[in-house]
Symmetry: C2
Subunit: 168 residues, 2 copies
DNA sequence: GTTGGAAAGTCAACAAAGCTGACATATCAT
DNA sequence: ATGATATGTCAGCTTTGTTGACTTTCCAAC
C-alpha cells in the first residue's frame, strides 16, 4: 500500500495520497472528541453517560420506536441497552408503552423531563455544530456530509437515510 | 433554541437550520462507527483494543515522542495510557528509550513488529477513507476537513495542525 | 387449542478503557 | 540540599460494552 498519487495523468487524484488520508483519519479522531465534549460535560455528575445520551437522542428523534429498532440503530446488545433504558424509565425520563398491535413490543417515548434533558444536550451539541458549519460555509457542509455518508457501513447508511426522510 | 432559517434576506443560511444540524450530528455518529469498524475487527481476538490502536498510531506518526506528549494528544490519564503502553512494550511492539537530554523522559518508538501491526491497522482504515474520499470527490474532501477542523476544541486543533505540519 | 418461535426483559459474570488517589523513583533545576 | 517534573505503579471504582442462560409474554400456524 504505497502512495496513490503517481505521476499519471492525474494531479486530479492528489486528494487521495496516503498523507491526505491520514489527515482525514486524524481529523475524525480529534473532531469526534469535540463532538462529544459538550454533552459529556452536562452528563458528568448526573448518573448518566454517553450511552444515555444516545438513547435519549434517538427516542426523541423517532418517538414510539420499539426496543428492537433502537437496538439496531445503536448497534449494542439488548442487555447493554436495557441497563440504560431501565435507569431512564425509573428516573421518569422515558416512558415504555406496551404495543397495541403487538403487545410484546414496547414503544418508547420521552416524558416532559426527558424532553427537557434532550433539549439541553442537543442544544449544546448543535451550538458547536452550528459554529463549525458557519465557520466552514455551506459548500463545506455539503462535502462534510457526503464524505461521512460514504464512510458509513451500508447498513448504517440505510438507517441514517431512513431517519432523514422520516423528518421531511 | 429554534430554527435559524428565518425569512430574512437569507436563503444563504438554510444550511444552519436545526434539521441540517441534526443531520450533521447523526452523520457524525454513524460515520464514526464505520471509521473504527475495520481496525476494531482486526484487533478483536488479539489482546488489544481501540486504545492500543490509538497509541500505536500516534507513536508511528511522531516517533520518539515522550509519554507526556502522547498523553496530551490522546487526552487520557497516565494510568490509562500506561496500562496500554505496558502491554505493547512487553509484547515487543513498542520500544521505550531513556532520553539523552533529559533522562527522566521516555521516548517511544515502534519496533518492526509494531510497524507491521500499525500498517495492517492503518491500511484497513485508509482503505475505507480512500473509498469515501473517492466517492465524495475532491471538493467534498476539502469541506469535510474544514468542518471537522472547526469542530475541534482549540487545544486539539493546535495539536492536529502541529502534526500536519510535522510531515511537510 | 396447543405449540413453536419472536420480542422483551432479567440475572450473572466478565472485559475494555476510562477515572481518582496515593505513593515511589529518578532526574533536573535552583 | 530542596523542590518540581516525568514516569511508573498499586488499588479501587465507573461506564459501557460483551456472552450465556433463562423467563415471560404473545402471535401465528398447525
Amino acid at each position: 500500500m504505497g502512495d496513490r498519487s503517481g505521476p499519471i495523468g492525474g494531479e486530479s487524484l492528489l486528494f487521495l495520497t496516503d498523507e491526505q488520508l491520514r489527515q482525514g483519519i486524524e481529523a475524525m479522531f480529534f473532531a469526534y472528541r469535540g463532538f462529544t465534549a459538550d454533552p459529556d460535560r452536562i452528563l458528568e455528575g448526573m448518573a448518566y453517560g454517553r450511552a444515555h445520551h444516545r438513547a435519549i437522542h434517538f427516542i426523541n428523534r423517532a418517538p414510539g420506536t420499539t426496543v428492537n429498532n433502537l437496538l439496531s440503530i445503536l448497534g449494542v446488545t439488548k442487555q447493554s441497552l436495557n441497563r440504560v433504558l431501565r435507569t431512564l424509565i425509573e428516573d421518569g425520563l422515558v416512558e415504555s408503552r406496551v404495543g397495541r398491535m403487538d403487545k410484546r413490543e414496547r414503544h418508547l417515548f420521552l416524558t416532559d423531563a426527558g424532553r427537557e434533558l434532550e433539549s439541553r444536550l442537543s442544544d449544546a451539541q448543535r451550538t458547536r455544530m452550528r459554529a463549525a458549519f458557519r465557520d466552514a460555509g455551506p459548500e463545506a457542509v455539503i462535502g462534510f456530509r457526503s464524505v461521512l455518508e460514504a464512510m458509513m457501513d451500508p447498513d448504517m447508511r440505510r438507517k441514517y437515510r431512513a431517519l432523514k426522510e422520516s423528518s421531511s
